[in-house]
Structure formats: C-alpha cells, structure tokens
C-alpha cells in the first residue's frame, strides 16, 4: 500500500513537472478555462437578475449549487482523468491498457496515475470563485455545522462524479468505445446539480433520484444549508445522505471496475 502510494505520487509528480514545463502556456490555459467556464455563469447570472429568481432561489443561492458542483467536478476531473471514458475507451482499443497489464503494479492505481490534468485548476478556481461569491451573499443563513458540511459535500460530490467516470470507463471494456448515453448522467448530472432541482420536470428529477442519485448531492443539502422551503416535501434527513450515498456509489463503481478488469480480454491481433 505504501509502495503503491509512493508510486502514485511519483507518477503524478512527473506529470505535473512536464505540464509545467512551459509555465506561460500553462497559466494561459488555466486562465482561459477559468474564463470560458466562468462566462457560462455570468451569462446565466445576467439573465437571472432580470427575473430576480428561479424557482424561488436568488442568484446567490443558485451560485451555491453551481459553484460547489463546478468546484467538485473540477477536482474530480483533475485526479480521475485516467478514468475519463472519452480517453480510456480509445486507450483500451489501441492496446494501451494491455501495456498497463504488462507491468507488475496494481491496475487501478496505474489507470489513476496514467493521466493527471493540472490545468483543470482553471475549472476548480472558477467553481471556487462562484462558491465564494455565493457565500458572501448567503452568509446570514450559515451556521458552524453548515459551514463544516460544505467540505463534506465537496468530497461527496468528488466521489459521486468519480464513480460515474469509473463506471463509464468500465463499460468500455465491452463496448471498446465510449457510450454517448453515459454523458447524460455524468455531464448531465453535473448540469442539473447546478440548478435548484425542483424546477425540472418530474421525469428528469426521478432519473436523477433513482438512476443516478444526483439530487442527494446537491439539491437536498442546499435546501438545508440555504434554509429554503422544499416543494418536493421530502424528509429533512435527505440533506445528510450525500456522504453515504456517494461512498456507496464509489464502492459499487470500484466493484464493477474490478469485475471489468477481471473479465477483460485483449483482442486477438
């Protein structure tokens, strides 16, 4: 275990060093991704100001779910890029995964260490800026417990998104290519989590409750933290299920992944 972690640290360190080889270009990349992602929120915010609120939530309140989701997704995307099925599928198809299997190291660790994308810092920073903007607006409704719950939520969301990545990567063992439909859950999940989810039609909410339980990671906790009325009339403890649901999903995803690796067969050529 210790050896695995030190190897992972080396894999990441070397990649960071190589990505920082051209600092100017790196900084520009981070900045541009911050600005591009940030403009989505600015555009949304400008529209929202016209209407004052959406589903009873004002800009500062929506910024909370938006910021925390972006922040968590960015962190996940930085550390779990190896499982990004957009790149993992082609890697399996071209035999890159075979090369990993030929090395005497745990395969999960190798995939995790295979791709570390430091420039995701742009998106992380963008999420953080929006989150801070929100907290400035909503601080009146915060308590110590609520403030402490925010990092727990971030960790839960990171686990949640990484589970989706891992499940997506595992399916490519059979499909040899990414399944477009998975984007509905991963990127779509991130998208719906950025809004107060009661504004969506019931069918969409059901999908993101029972198939992919995204609603427990953003909407219910936010309702609690922001002191908002809950038009869905669900029990108050739903606000605290995020860490349990995400941990469960993560373990499930890892199991599925191990099953996939165990049953993986290279091609004949």
């Amino acid at each position: 275990m210790k050896r695995s972690l030190s190897l992972l640290a080396k894999l990441l360190k070397i990649q960071v060093r190589s990505q920082l080889q051209y600092p100017t270009s790196f900084i520009l990349e981070v900045l541009s991704s911050l600005l591009i992602q940030g403009f989505f929120f600015v555009a949304f915010g400008l529209t929202l100001i016209r209407f004052d609120q959406i589903g009873g939530w004002n800009l500062g309140e929506v910024a909370f779910v938006w910021g925390i989701t972006e922040f968590s997704f960015g962190i996940m995307d930085m550390f779990f890029s190896g499982f990004d099925y957009d790149s993992f599928g082609p890697m399996v198809r071209r035999g890159g995964f075979d090369q990993l299997l030929l090395r005497p190291v745990n395969i999960t660790l190798q995939v995790l260490g295979s791709r570390f994308v430091l420039r995701r810092l742009g998106r992380i920073a963008e999420g953080l800026v929006i989150l801070i903007f929100s907290i400035i607006q909503i601080h009146a409704s915060l308590s110590i417990v609520k403030v402490l719950y925010i990092p727990v939520l971030v960790i839960s969301q990171v686990l949640f998104f990484s589970s989706l990545f891992i499940i997506g990567a595992t399916t490519t063992f059979w499909t040899m290519d990414r399944l477009e439909i998975l984007n509905v859950f991963t990127y779509g999940g991130g998208e719906v989590m950025s809004y107060p989810m009661h504004i969506f039609p019931r069918s969409i909410r059901l999908i993101f409750t029972f198939i992919v339980p995204a609603i427990f990671l953003s909407y219910y906790p936010a309702v609690y933290i922001l002191n908002k009325p809950n038009p869905l009339g669900s029990p108050a403890f739903f606000a605290f299920l995020a860490p349990f649901i995400s941990a469960f999903m993560f373990l499930l995803a890892l199991r599925f992944w191990r099953f996939g690796v165990k049953n993986y067969q290279s091609t004949g050529s």
Binding site: L7, P104, G268
Partner: protein, 340 residues
C-alpha cells in the same frame, strides 16, 4: 534442461459476431446474435528452453499475436496449458510480469508526453529495480542503443526507430529472463532494422535472455534465429532449425542467361522459364532435381550464350512459397490425422 515456456494443447477460439443491420437489427442483436467460431490458435504444443532465441512466424492472421498474448497473460486460452517461468500467465499476472519483458512493435510502453528519461525513471520504480542495477543497465543500453541523442525528448516526438530502441531499453531494464518481441522491426528502414537485430542478438548471447520473436521480416529470422516455428491457420506447421526448413522446402535456384541472339523458345528440360525479355531469359529450377552445371551444359549445346548467372532464391521468397502453397500445412495435416 527444463523448459522456460511450456505450451500444451493450447486453443483460443474467438466468437465473431454477425450483427443485424439498422435500428431494428440493433434490437435483434440483443436477443439473437449469430456468430462464427474462429480457431485463432488450434491445439498447439511447444517448449522453449532457457537461452533460446526462437523466431515465431506465419502469415497475417495465423495466430502469432494471439499466442503471444496468451503467453503474456493478456488473453485467457479457451483450453490447454501454458506455463511460463513456472507461472500461469493470466492467473498470476502481477508476480509473473516482473520476470518478463515485452515489446509490441505497434505500441509503446512509454509515457507519450514525458521525456524518455522520465519514462525510464518511472519504470525503475514500477519494477523496483535496485539503483546499482538500474544504473548499470541504463549505461549499457544508452551506449548500445545510442539513446543519448533523445534522452530528453518527449516520446511522442521520437521517430519510429528511436521509439523502438527506447522501448527495447524499457523492456530490458529489469533484467527479465524472458522477452517477448512482437514485430520489433515493423516499419523500420534497413539501417534501423539492423541496429535492432544487433541489440536482440546481444541480449540473447551476452546475457542469456530467452527471446521469442514474431516478425514479418524473414531477414530478422535468418539473421537471428536458429530455431523457427511457423504457425498457419492456428496450427504450428513447422518447428525446427531454419536450415532444415530451407533444405527441405527451399532449394529453388535461378539461372539468368543472356543469349548472344534472340531465340523464340529457348526451352530447357527440368527448368521453367519465368521471365523472358529479348535475349535475357530467367530459368527456375530445383537444386535436388538438376544441377546448374548440367543445365548450363545443355544450354550451351543448343544456344549461343553471352553471359549467365546462378542465384539461390532469397529466404523470404522461400518462406512465402511455403505459406502460399501451404506445403507444410498439408504435409503436417496428413501426418497428424492419417484418417483424413
């Protein structure tokens, strides 16, 4: 001596699905998918002993890669037994791969975006190579493979030949007892090929590393391997010395003649005309049917000759002829299945 690779009755069968077309077809595929069984590797047996350098050849799709993938643990056989270095490759992957090296010519084990030196450092950690051994090996390989010129270049910017040298170095750093080389010279120019061959020979001779080499380039085999195994249609159709193979199935020679004048049909017994351009004619004949001197004697009796030359058929062509005419396949088939 006990063998380092033991393969017995090894079979790998793939299901090749025939999908129904279109949207409705996609739904039908869920319930009823038709498939053919393809026997990529069909009951093969062989043993390789420590220190051997064996060439494993055969036409495209004969089953070479499938075999190598089973030997390296990337594919699980349909049936049969494989023991490599005491391990069952696909069952004990993590411990097994510590002792082997593998180079797949079409792929790289190196990190695409990292400089070569970083890739090699990472491999040192991955294989837990002690510092003194790593330094010693690296120094040696740097010199033989001339890696210094591109040690700090990202792998993606290397030429194919450079990348192959880098990959060979990467595969040997941990002193594997056994190395699988799958098409290590593919796509390289003559000079680069020669350099790779010299390195393979060095590894085998000086360090006693056992090597199983698959290739399309018969020149690799001719230069490197005493022993060849030929696989065709999933069966091993020949396993033995290259010399023996050439003596048994080769022996075709060519007699090129320039006549002093043009003859319309300069026929010669026991030899076929395979090319005729004006007064230049090329005959083909078999060494064990007729001697060159006899043919030349016969020719000079009937025609006036300006110049002539005798050549042996290149090994590549001999082997190709063996594949194409399926000489070995039929031969072996009859021997193994007397009933058929």
């Amino acid at each position: 001596m006990s063998s380092i690779i033991h393969v017995q009755d090894l079979v790998k069968t793939f299901k090749i699905y025939h999908d129904h077309k279109g949207y409705l077809g996609a739904i039908r595929n869920l319930f009823d998918r038709k498939y053919d069984l393809v026997h990529a590797v069909d009951q093969i047996n062989f043993d390789i002993h420590p220190g051997e350098l064996v060439g494993y050849i055969g036409p495209n799709g004969a089953g070479k890669s499938t075999t190598i993938k089973m030997l390296t643990g990337l594919l699980v056989p349909t049936s049969g037994e494989v023991r490599v270095n005491g391990y069952i490759p696909w069952k004990e992957r993590k411990t097994y791969v510590k002792h082997i090296g593998a180079v797949f010519g079409q792929r790289t084990t190196l990190w695409w975006d990292l400089p070569l030196s970083d890739s090699l450092t990472l491999l040192q950690h991955i294989y837990e190579i002690p510092d003194p051994l790593y330094k010693k090996n690296l120094a040696m390989f740097r010199e033989i493979l001339e890696l210094d010129a591109f040690m700090n270049t990202p792998v993606r910017s290397l030429s194919l030949g450079q990348r192959m040298r880098a990959d060979l170095c990467a595969a040997m750093l941990h002193d594997p007892k056994l190395v699988f080389l799958d098409e290590p010279t593919i796509g390289l120019d003559v000079v680069a090929k020669e350099r790779i061959r010299e390195f393979i020979q060095f590894i085998n001779r000086e360090r006693g590393t056992t090597i199983l080499l698959t290739t399309h380039d018969i020149a690799d085999v001719a230069k490197l391997c005493e022993r060849v195994m030929i696989i065709d249609h999933g069966k091993i159709v020949f396993d033995g010395k290259l010399d023996h193979l050439l003596r048994t199935y080769g022996g075709r020679r060519f007699l090129s003649v320039q006549f002093a004048e043009i003859y319309p049909e300069p026929v010669l017994e026991n030899a076929d005309i395979i090319k005729m351009e004006g007064n230049n004619v090329v005959y083909s004949f078999m060494r064990d049917t007729v001697s060159a001197s006899h043919l030349i004697h016969k020719l000079s009796e009937s025609y006036r000759i300006a110049d002539l030359e005798v050549n042996d058929q290149p090994i590549e062509d001999t082997i190709r002829e063996i594949y194409e005419k399926q000489l070995l396949y039929n031969h072996n088939h009859d021997k193994k299945n007397p009933a058929s």
